[in-house]
């Protein structure tokens, strides 16, 4: 039982990270109907930004409080990846809106390859380990909870609340929802569609950056190809929850995190990625709308 609860906690932590990345996938898919294949690499960029900020700050200010350090890592990472994703959308995706069906996906695959190899070229192909940031652990009987797990879940919850507020209660969120429902009609009614889409990309990237920084904090290592597998898992989460649905992305993220940790605990670690890929394929084939998604109407 303790073992099960322990795995549940680990899964929840991992699931929070996937959920944050999944929101980026689901928002972009909802608003422009495109799978942003490069989103996983935006997540990786966020991790690298946090890593570099960490190195700079710790070398200049040796005794910097951990809380301030973490906050700066998150903020700079969010700014940085927001700028990247804004530029990417502007340069590579916007001109293709309305081009033939597969063009945006092919471009996004190209962007994903280019981003991960850009980091490989500029920062080197080796794994980048950092010393542990937060080491405190708490024991409840046989169950161990580390402070970093609590931090990850808490930060995720705060961000999700802020995000929910923006989407549901602000004029910006209204514009986003309107653009999602009908882009042309929204434009006719005075919504600046281009700006809304740009902001959506920035928001998705900011959440991915937080996820990247927390991934770095959790595992203590960053690598240029960290974008691919976590990216696919987050995409699976978005699909499982119902692509286009924000609560679905979070739910899907948590489920994928739980499935992954329970699968590794009870079946086999070797096949844990197979489990994710199999879920992805099965959900897409049998229930493409996911758990909370709306059925898609086939337009002629």
């Amino acid at each position: 039982m303790e073992y099960f609860i322990q795995q549940l906690i680990n899964g929840l932590t991992l699931g929070s990270i996937y959920g944050l990345v999944a929101i980026g996938y689901t928002m972009v898919y909802g608003i422009i109907g495109m799978i942003n294949f490069a989103h996983g690499d935006i997540f990786m960029l966020g991790g690298f930004a946090a890593l570099i900020i960490f190195l700079i700050l710790t070398s200049f200010f040796a005794g910097i409080p951990v809380a301030l350090l973490l906050l700066l890592m998150l903020l700079v990472g969010m700014l940085m990846t927001g700028l990247w994703n804004w530029t990417i959308e502007r340069v590579a995706y916007r001109p293709l809106r309305g081009s033939f069906r597969l063009a945006p996906l092919i471009t996004a695959i190209g962007m994903s390859i280019a981003l991960s190899n850009f980091i490989q070229v500029t920062q080197g192909p080796r794994n980048k380990p950092i010393p542990p940031l937060v080491t405190d652990t708490y024991h409840l009987g046989a169950i161990t909870i580390s402070l970093k797990q609590i931090l990850i879940v808490v930060i995720t919850s705060i961000l999700l609340f802020a995000f929910w507020y923006i989407v549901n209660k602000t004029p910006l969120g209204r514009a986003q929802r309107a653009t999602e429902q009908d882009r042309k009609m929204a434009a006719l009614l005075g919504v600046d569609v281009d700006r809304t889409i740009s902001i959506t990309f920035i928001m998705g990237a900011a959440l991915a950056a937080v996820a990247g920084a927390m991934y770095l904090m959790y595992y203590g290592v960053a690598s240029f190809n960290d974008g691919f597998i976590p990216g696919v898992k987050a995409f699976t989460a978005a699909v499982l929850g119902g692509i286009g649905s924000l609560p679905g992305a979070v739910l899907g993220g948590l489920l994928i995190g739980l499935i992954e940790s329970l699968w590794s605990a009870y079946f086999s670690i070797a096949y844990k990625d197979v489990a994710t890929f199999a879920i992805l394929a099965i959900v897409l084939i049998f229930k493409p709308t996911g758990i909370l998604g709306r059925p898609e109407v086939e337009k002629v």
Partner: protein, 462 residues
């Protein structure tokens, strides 16, 4: 009149400068951390950092100047040219083609047939090894893979991101069946193709209902599952260690290329012992396989099934309304594409003598897809040229020693290879969605040729 144009000119320049500065600032923000700062491990394995302001300045300058030139000069120039063309109202179509253009395929074929002998004449026996193997065979394998994928992506319009899975199936079928049962290459080559085609049907069946990007993602998942199974099913595949010592192909069973064999090819023909003859033989085998692929593709394109593929690519709903069975159409496309992937895979295993899951990662699928996209989906010549440029280009980069003197001893072109591939995919999609090299036209047309989906830029046509 003169006054207004001058005013426009200075306004344009001001705009160009502004845009240039803005682009520079954005580039500064983007590259500050990732280019301006380098992280590396020092002697104590501690992660440390140093600055690279020079390189950062280069990046920023390229972005700023590039944007300035685009806004200030290139775009007005292009607009003016477009306007002039629209005013004249005459489309530039010329039926005159140069001799080289007209006979390009024949010249290319003759060159390919003579290529190994030419290489041997120019570079000597051992010197030609590199040219026949690294350039010739390597490029032709990619040509074949890209032509196989072209059937799925270019003709049927089904984006397959897991194509490398069929390549893996072919390679492992040959490796395992020849190691365990001692079957020969010539028996296993068709068998590997059939097995891969079979897998194409198995994997194609569940994804029939999916369209477009969902299909792409599911094929990616299947590709990764096959690779992960190859890694983890150690009893059969020996996991990441791979299978080594795979038997060589023989000269149709008449002569062997094994050094110790009694009917050794070199001995039988009185040739000095060198592996170059085996490589030359392999070159002709893969060339023949490529030609078969091209022949089959061209013939199929003219058959009802090929026309159904192209119809499916253009509009699935219209296709169904006309009574075309989309299930068999999609499955045959998957199976045919997979079969050629399987042929290429078994050839790869025979040539390499070693297979491991490392060779079948997602990036490999992406490379093949990039070649198809760059060459112009559907165009065989275009794809072949794209393969020569992209694969041959990276091999060439590896050969250039002087680059090491410019960029330092750490310069490894393989790292830049994928970066270039990725950027090339983006640029092609942005500027020439039909591919840089070739164009793709429907095979069947009524009275006159019309534009196809790639050339539409409006919504709802693809």
């Amino acid at each position: 009149m003169a006054y207004t144009t001058e005013n426009n000119q200075s306004g344009l320049m001001a705009k160009a400068v502004k845009e240039g500065v803005l682009a520079g600032l954005i580039a500064f923000g983007m590259f500050l951390l990732f280019v301006g700062i380098e992280t590396y491990q020092d002697i104590n394995n501690q992660l440390v950092w140093r600055t690279r302001w020079g390189l950062l300045a280069v990046f920023v300058a390229i972005a700023a100047i590039g944007r300035f030139l685009t806004v200030g000069f290139i775009k007005p120039h292009l607009d003016a040219r477009k306007l002039a063309k629209a005013k004249s109202g005459v489309l530039e179509i010329s039926d005159k083609k140069s001799f080289f253009h007209k006979h390009f395929l024949k010249i290319a074929l003759v060159f390919l047939l003579c290529y190994p002998f030419l290489a041997m004449m120019i570079f000597g026996r051992q010197g030609s090894l590199k040219y026949v193997d690294n350039f010739g065979i390597q490029i032709l394998i990619y040509v074949m893979l890209a032509w196989g994928l072209n059937i799925v992506v270019g003709l049927a319009g089904l984006l397959d991101l897991g194509y490398v899975a069929f390549y893996a199936v072919g390679a492992y079928s040959y490796a395992l069946l020849s190691a365990n049962f001692g079957f020969s290459f010539w028996l296993l080559l068709p068998m590997a193709g059939i097995l891969a085609g079979f897998w194409g049907i198995i994997l194609g069946f569940p994804v029939l209902r999916l369209r477009g990007d969902y299909l792409a993602i599911v094929t990616l998942a299947f590709g990764e599952i096959i690779r992960l199974v190859l890694i983890n099913w150690t009893d059969v595949t020996r996991g990441t260690f791979g299978i080594s010592g795979i038997a060589k192909a023989s000269f149709f069973g008449i002569w062997s290329f094994d050094v110790g064999a009694a009917n050794n090819f070199n001995k039988a023909w009185g040739l000095p012992s060198s592996s170059v003859y085996y490589k030359m033989f392999l070159f002709y085998v893969i060339l023949a396989l490529c030609l078969i692929t091209a022949y089959v593709t061209i013939r199929l394109r003219r058959m009802p099934i090929g026309r159904a593929w192209e119809a499916l690519r253009e509009d699935e709903i219209a296709c169904r309304s006309l009574g075309i069975n989309t299930v068999t159409t999609k499955l045959t496309a998957f199976a045919t594409g997979a079969m050629f992937g399987g042929f290429a895979g078994s050839f790869f295993a025979a040539r390499q003598g070693f297979v491991s899951p490392e060779s079948f990662v997602f990036l490999e699928s992406a490379v093949i897809l990039a070649i198809v996209v760059l060459g112009g989906m559907g165009s065989l010549t275009g794809i072949a040229i794209a393969a020569v440029v992209m694969v041959g280009g990276t091999e060439l980069l590896r050969e250039m020693e002087f680059l090491k003197h410019i960029f330092g001893p750490d310069f490894t072109p393989e790292l830049y290879r994928m970066l270039l591939f990725g950027l090339a995919m983006i640029i092609v999609m942005l500027f020439k969605p039909r591919g840089f090299v070739g164009t793709r036209e429907p095979t069947a047309f009524l009275k006159e040729r019309k534009a196809v989906s790639g050339s539409f830029t409006k919504e709802g046509h693809g």
